[in-house]
């Protein structure tokens, strides 16, 4: 599932020169690591809704979930409706 999630992250955020194997499971998504920004966090919230049926209303809540691939995957496992 993490492999699929990484592919989805790459497509959604248009990280065109990256492959799933370039993203480590515990690599920070924001700040260091992938260096994503506030627009990306909004995009990832949409990804969670569209692909997994998970709704996150508050972007600040979202940042707690969107730390790295591991935290995202855990959250998806617990909350997915698709």
């Amino acid at each position: 599932m993490k492999e699929q999630l990484k592919k989805q992250i790459i497509t959604f955020l248009n990280l065109r020169d990256l492959k799933p194997e370039d993203i480590k499971d515990d690599e920070p998504l924001f700040g260091e690591g992938l260096g994503l920004d506030s627009i990306d966090s909004l995009e990832l919230i949409v990804l969670l809704q569209r692909e997994y049926g998970i709704s996150i209303k508050d972007p600040k809540e979202g940042r707690k979930v969107l730390v790295d691939v591991n935290t995202m995957a855990d959250y998806i496992e617990k909350n997915r409706t698709k």
Binding site: N14, I39, D40, L42, V46, Q49, R50
Partner: protein, 342 residues
Amino acid sequence: MFYIHQAYCISPQQTFINAGWNVLHESSDNQLKVIEPAYENIPRNLLRRMGRSVRTGVGAAFPILNETKDIDGIIIGTATAGKEDSFFFLKQVMEYEEGLLTPANFVQSTGNAIASQIGILSHNTSYNITHVHEGLAFENAMLDVALLLQENSENHYLLGGADELSDYDFNLNKLAGCYKEGITSNKNLYESDTPGTIAGEGAVMFLANNVQENAIAKIDIIKTLFTTNVEEIQQAIKTLLAQYSIDIFISGENGDNRHTRFYAACEEALKDDTAIIRFKHLCGEYPTASAFATFLACDILQKQNIPDAVIKKSASEKQLKNILLYNNYQGKQHSFVLVSGV
């Protein structure tokens, strides 16, 4: 008005770093698309969000940003920057029925996306403006630079004209009857006596200031008109020709027979020994195509040579000093630009 010191152009031809005019890249389906360089200087996280006009605009600006310490303003003319992003966002709006949407395309959809990204990448906090008046967007950018240099004579400005050929624009312009009915190659653009032209795109960036020494060229006159009346164009060119002796006339002729009368009127007014050259078979038709023509003029002045690929009517060997560019967009927005050697 002002001097040009550097000029870079990303276009459908070999024009970026070492312009070569010998090979004519051919159009496809009535479209001429740019040859994009590898954008080594643009951070991946910014590059992924950039539409083509932003990438090419930034790409053409980079050599100038690298070579010039102080840029006191970024002045861009564009009619299409951000439009493709606008449409991608609009598609989401329609397809998801105004539901939960991703914002990245919306953020990049403003017309000032090029000027803004150049500012961000170069940490430039000075004057930053985007002129979007369609076929006069680049001319208005030039006039702004001329005014800025009048106000601040020691300054240096990044001046640019950039447009992208998106499916969005192509489809709309096609519906509006802008393009040839059947497929026309750029190699035969001027031969058919039919309405319509072919679509193009490009990004051109210049460094402009008041310094004559080592300048590539001087922009002497920028004149814009809004008319459908050929007599006004005739009058305008006669006035210019009475003041200046022109060595080369660059014509914005684009194969559209609805507008040939304007170009014919200009050519009639020229002296016999004036060379006539055309450029839209190289770059296609788009709102800021006059920026490509200005780049071409600078190249000719620097090399003192007119490429065979652009010649409509040659002239005898002589020093090439004054080049008059006349262009119109859809037969309504007209401009004359005088580019001179220094």
